[in-house]
Point group: C2
Chain length 97, copies 2
């Protein structure tokens, strides 16, 4: 089952790099995306804020990002946790834009 998202935007907040109870590095951030997309052959203004999280080496590499940086995140969508079905983006790759 396919599940791929690429989302580029500005980092509006980020947590400090921390360890999960299991000892895995993790970093959470909030991305603000604004762009023009095409829908019904018309250009539409799009804005979305997306919670994102990285684990392991990806989290450690992401630790260099600062609020205000523009980054391109690639990963998959998953429910936030057992209690909240709201989607967050699990980052598997990223690059500075």
């Amino acid at each position: 089952m396919k599940n791929t998202t690429v989302l580029e935007g500005k980092i509006v907040s980020r947590d400090t790099l921390r360890l999960t109870p299991g000892g895995i590095a993790t970093l959470s951030l909030m991305l603000n995306h604004q762009s023009t997309q095409t829908e019904m052959d018309q250009e539409v203004q799009v804005e979305v804020e997306m919670n994102a999280v990285a684990f392991g080496d990806t989290a450690k590499e992401l630790d260099s990002v600062k609020v205000g940086d523009t980054v391109s995140l690639k990963g998959f969508l998953s429910r936030k946790n057992r209690y909240s079905p709201q989607p967050i983006l699990h980052i598997t790759q990223f690059k500075f834009s």
Copy 2:
């Protein structure tokens, strides 16, 4: 700014095809996705429920889908509306899986 999502899953609910106040066909649905993804070189079980919406010809074509159908949706993420920043998927292409 890139904004692309491909998400495959089962339709758990769908609204009837309706017209916006501006006379544009629109159809909203909820997709349940379950899969195995790779994170930190490990397989992880992923589940997410995603609100999705289509407009125009895409909405009319989507009107053939039934609850329980498995479909692959492609589109972009956008905030639900002015009051809710929660992301929903704007469907620009779809196919039956």
